[in-house]
Symmetry: D2
Subunit: 338 residues, 4 copies
Amino acid sequence: MIKVGIIGANGYTGFELMRLLASHGGARVVYASSRSMAGKCVAEVYPTLYGAYGDMTYADVDTDKAAECDVVFACLPHGESAEICGRLADAGTKVIDLSADFRYDDPELYESTYKKEHPRRDLLEKAVYGLPEINRDKIRGARLIGNPGCYVTASVLAVRPLVQSGVINPRTVIIDAKSGVSGAGRKADVAYNANEVLGNFKAYSVSTHRHTTEIEEKTGAVVTFSPHLLPVKRGILATIYCDLMPGKTIEDADGAFAVYENEPFVHYTARRLPEIKWAAGSNCCYIGAISEQKTNRLIVVSCIDNLIKGASGQAIQNMNVMFGLSETEGLPLVGTHL
Amino acid sequence: MIKVGIIGANGYTGFELMRLLASHGGARVVYASSRSMAGKCVAEVYPTLYGAYGDMTYADVDTDKAAECDVVFACLPHGESAEICGRLADAGTKVIDLSADFRYDDPELYESTYKKEHPRRDLLEKAVYGLPEINRDKIRGARLIGNPGCYVTASVLAVRPLVQSGVINPRTVIIDAKSGVSGAGRKADVAYNANEVLGNFKAYSVSTHRHTTEIEEKTGAVVTFSPHLLPVKRGILATIYCDLMPGKTIEDADGAFAVYENEPFVHYTARRLPEIKWAAGSNCCYIGAISEQKTNRLIVVSCIDNLIKGASGQAIQNMNVMFGLSETEGLPLVGTHL
Amino acid sequence: MIKVGIIGANGYTGFELMRLLASHGGARVVYASSRSMAGKCVAEVYPTLYGAYGDMTYADVDTDKAAECDVVFACLPHGESAEICGRLADAGTKVIDLSADFRYDDPELYESTYKKEHPRRDLLEKAVYGLPEINRDKIRGARLIGNPGCYVTASVLAVRPLVQSGVINPRTVIIDAKSGVSGAGRKADVAYNANEVLGNFKAYSVSTHRHTTEIEEKTGAVVTFSPHLLPVKRGILATIYCDLMPGKTIEDADGAFAVYENEPFVHYTARRLPEIKWAAGSNCCYIGAISEQKTNRLIVVSCIDNLIKGASGQAIQNMNVMFGLSETEGLPLVGTHL
Amino acid sequence: MIKVGIIGANGYTGFELMRLLASHGGARVVYASSRSMAGKCVAEVYPTLYGAYGDMTYADVDTDKAAECDVVFACLPHGESAEICGRLADAGTKVIDLSADFRYDDPELYESTYKKEHPRRDLLEKAVYGLPEINRDKIRGARLIGNPGCYVTASVLAVRPLVQSGVINPRTVIIDAKSGVSGAGRKADVAYNANEVLGNFKAYSVSTHRHTTEIEEKTGAVVTFSPHLLPVKRGILATIYCDLMPGKTIEDADGAFAVYENEPFVHYTARRLPEIKWAAGSNCCYIGAISEQKTNRLIVVSCIDNLIKGASGQAIQNMNVMFGLSETEGLPLVGTHL
C-alpha cells in the first residue's frame, strides 16, 4: 500500500483526492494536513468522508511528517507551493504538485505570468509536466510532478495534436472555455455566493488569464483565451476555433487525434461534439471536431471534469504511472451523467 | 411623487426595493444609503440598475438626510434597526422597517427571542404590523410599520384564518418550510458558496429558528417550525400539517380561506396545491389545502416570493396603503414562471 | 386601450407577452388562442397568470376573431406563421410575427435556410424588420413586423455597428453564443428533461444553425456561429471574436457603439464585460468590448434576456413604436438580478 | 466473475447499474436489454459509458438469453415486471426486481395500492424484501428480491427502529419528503422539462402517493406522506415528525438508532441533521434527530442518493449479499459532495 500525504487537504482538490483514494486499491491516505483546519475532523468539514475516514483529523502542516509518506500531493496556492514541495523533494519524497509552480519549461514565462521570482528554479528544471498522454515515459521516472490544471488539460489535449501534425495554423487559435464553479475553489466571497452564480453566466479575465501562457507553451500556439463561469459545479467545456492549414481537412484532424486511440482516458468522438455530462464524474477527456467550409475553420470541443482529469484524478493517474500501478486504478472511467 | 429613502440599500431587499420602485408610478427613490458601499455607484454593485438609476451613488448613512424623505425603508440588521428607525420616527418621517424590531406585540417575546433589550419599547407599542391582509385599516394611519419577513408571511397567511375560524387544533401545527437562498442575504460565507448550495438541500435551525415566536404570536398556534434551504434563488414553499377540529372538514377550511376572496395578492387555489413558480417574481401568495381522512389531518401549502411578498414587495404594498395609493401600484401581479 | 390578440399563446413567448402586457398601461390582451389548449383556462397552464387574467380561456385559432384586434402577435412555428399572418395582414390588422417568416430581405436566403418556399413573398417585401434600434422609422409606419429572435438580436446589436463603421474585418467574425433553455420552448422531449440539462452544458448545431444566415444578412459579416445550451432558464450571452481592421483600435469600437448612447434599452459598458444577470428579466441589451494586442483581435460580449429583448419584450417595443406610445411602456428597464 | 443481466437497461436505474458495475470487482454486465432502444449502442444513449462498455449494444428483451446470466436486475414498470421476473425465477435465475412487484408481504395491500391483480402471487410469497439492514439473513439465501425504492428506503431506515423500540407513537408519523428529479425517470414530459423544474419546488401526490402503503407495511406506522420535487438531479431528504411516547426522550431515539452501529452504509449523526450532499453519489443513508420540548415531538432527517441507496446501489448491495461477496464491493462509501 502506497502511503499518501496531502497538504492543503481541506480545499476542493484535497477533498477530491481523499474521495477518489478512498476506493483506490493500491494507495491509502495516511496524512492530510490543513493550516486553517488543523485538529478538525475531516468528516466535520466534508461529512461524506465519514464512511471512509471515520474520525481522522486534519494534521497541522509539518514537512517532516509529510516526508514519511511515499508520495505527497500538494494542494497549495501558487508560489507558496514551490517552497514546501521543494523541501519534500530535497528530503527524497516523491511529490505531485497541483499548483502552477512546477509546470513551466521556461522559468521566465512562469515569472512574468505569476509576477514573482520562482523560489526553486533548480527543481523546476528537473520537474516533469504531469500530462500522461503526452509525457508518460518521463512521468515513470519522475520524483517531482507539475500537475496541469483544468483549463490547460482540456485545451492542451485538444490543440496540441493539431499543431504537432501541422493540421492547423497555430497563430489562429481561439479557446472559448466554460468552467463549473468548483474551479474557483472553496471561497467565502460574495462573487461566488449562490445568489450571484445560480442562473448567471459570465466571461472573466478574458485575454488576461494566467493559464494562457501555459497553454501556449505546451501547444506551441498563439492563443486567445476566454474563460467563462458556468452555473454548474463540475466540468469544463472548451470550444476551440482555428484555421485549417491550406490543403488540410477535417480528415487530417481525425488523423491527428488518432494519437489517443489507445488512451484509456481520452476519447475522440469525431463529428459528435461532447457535452459536460459525458465527462463529469470521470477521469476522461472527450474531444470532437467539425469543420466549416465557408471559413475553412476547424471547430473543436473538449470536455473534462475540472476536479478529476483537471486536477485530482490526473494527479492520481500520475501517481499510478510513477509507481508502476495500473494507470486506471482508482479512477472512474464512467461519469455520473446524472 | 412620494420621495423614498432606503437605508441599507446595498443588500438584496434594498436592491429589490430599488428594482420594484423603478416602475412605480407614484414614488421615486431619492436617497439610498449604505455604510459599506457609500460613494459607490449603485450600478457598479447591481449593473442591472443602470438603465433606471444611471450614475446614482450610495449615500453614507445620514439620518437627517433620510428624514427629508416622505418615507424611509430600513433594511438593517435586527437590533441596529430600532435605533435608526426610532430617530426617523421621532423626526416625523414615516418609516417601514424590514427588520424584526417592530413586529412583535409583546416586547418580552421580542427580547427573549432576539436575546437583547428592545431599545425603543415606547415606539414598539405604536408600531403597526405590516401585513395588509390582516391589518389594512391600522396601516392606513400608521407612521411606523414593522414589515413581516418571508417565512412569517407565508405561514401566517395560511395558518391564521384556520385558527381564527376554529377549523384546526392550534396546538398541532407543524410548518415544514423551504426557502430559496436569497433569504440568507448577500453574504461572503462558504456555507452559501455556490458549490455548497447547488445540488444540495438541507434543514437548518429546526425547532430553534427565531421566526417561530413571531408566527406563534400572529396566529395563536403552537408551532413546530422547520426551515430548509432550497437550491433556488427566490421563493418559499411551506407545507403545513395540523389536525382538523372534531367535526370540521376540508370544506370548513375552504370557508376560512374565503376571507381572501377580494384580496389582490392572496389566491386560494383549493385542492390544487401551489408551486414556487406560481409566486416567484410576483407579490402574490398562493394557498392550497387538502385533508387526509385516515389521520383527520389538514395539509396546507403556501407559496410566496421571499423577496417580494416576503419583504420588499410587501413593504411597498404597505407604503401604497399608508399614502392612499392604489394598493397594487408598482407591484407585479404575475410571476416570471420561467 | 390597444386591443391585443396573441396566436399560439400557450408557448413561452406567448406566456411572456401575457405576463408583460398585464402591466402595460396602453394595451390589453383581449384574445389569446391556442390550437392544442383551446378551451383551457390560461391560469390552468400558467397559474401565475391567475391574478391578472382570472378565468380567461385560450380561444381556438380563428383569423376572423383575431382580425378584430388592433394588433396581433403571432407565436407560431416558422412556415405556418406566414399564412396566418398573411391573412390577418390582408384583413388590415397590424401584425407582429415572432417567427422567422418575415425577417429576411432576401426571399431566396429564407428559402434556402428554411428549406421551403415562402408562401407570401408579396408580403415579405413589405414587412419591416423589427429591431427598433436599427429600424425605428420604418417600424413607425409598418403594418407587418418580422420580429427578430434571441440569438440574432444579441448578435446583430453587437456586430452591426462594428461592420458599418469599418472597425472590424467582416470576414473574421466568430460568435460563440450561450443560451438559456427557455430558448428551446415548452417541449416534451427527453433532451430537455431537467435531468439531462441540470449540471450540463453543450454545443449544438455548430456552424449549421438556421439563424446564421439572418445574422449575416443583418450585419454584412461572414459568421461562424456556435450555439450552446446553458443550464439556466433565461438569458443569452454571446462572446464575439473578430479582427480589428488595420489601424483600428478599441477606441474606434467605443466610437462605433456610441450609436446606442440615447437608446433606453441598449447599454454599452466599455471594458466591463456584461453578465447574463444584468440583462435577465429586463428588455435591455448590454454590450462590452476589449481588444487583444498580440492577435489584434476585438472581443465583444453581448447579453440579453432571450424571452424579453430576444422575443416578447422586443415585440412589445415594436408595438409601442407602431402605435406612437412611449417606447418603454410596459417594458422592464431593470432585470431581476436574483 | 458473476454474469449480470439488466432488463430495461436504458432508463436511469439501468444506467446507474451499468455505471456502478463498471468498477465492481466481482461482477460484469454481459446482457443489457431495452425494448425501445434495442440495437442501439449504449454509448449512443449514455456517452459516458463509452470508456467502460465500448461498442456494446442494447439487446432486445429475450428471457431465454437473460436466464443464462447468474443474476438479472429488472428495471421495468410495476406490473410488467412481475411476469418477466417470474419467468426468470421459474428458470432458476436469481432475480433482483427494482419495481414494486415483489416488495409487499400482503398481496392485497399491493393490489389495492397498484389497482391490479398480482400476476404471480405464488412468487410474491417467496420473494425477499431487499433492505439488507433489516433483512440480511434472508437475502443471503434468496432467489428473488423485491428491491425497495428511494422514498421507502429513506423512510423505513429512519422510522422502523423508532417504532420497533417503542420510542415513538406509531400513529403520529408525518414524512415530508423531498426528492431530486431523477426519481421521475427518463421522461419526455413537459412537467419535467428543465424550464418547469429549474428554480421551482412543489409538493405532489400529497397523501395519495403509492409508496405510502409500503412504508406503512415495513414500519408498522400510520403515515402521512408528502413527496416534493427538488430542482436537483440526485438525492432525497425526508423530514419526519412524530410524537415521543410518554417518558421517552431523544436519548431513547439515539439508543434505537444504535442498531446501525456496524452498518457500512447507514450513519447516525445524532443532533447534526444530514444534508443531501452528504449522501449524493454514495450508497450511504445518513440519519439525524432532534427533539422539541414544547410539543414533545421527535424530528428526524434522513438522506440518501435516490439512484444509489434508493435503487441501483441497493440492488448491487443485495447482489453482494446473495453471492457472498463483500457487501461494500463496487459501492461508493463517499459521496461526490460537489
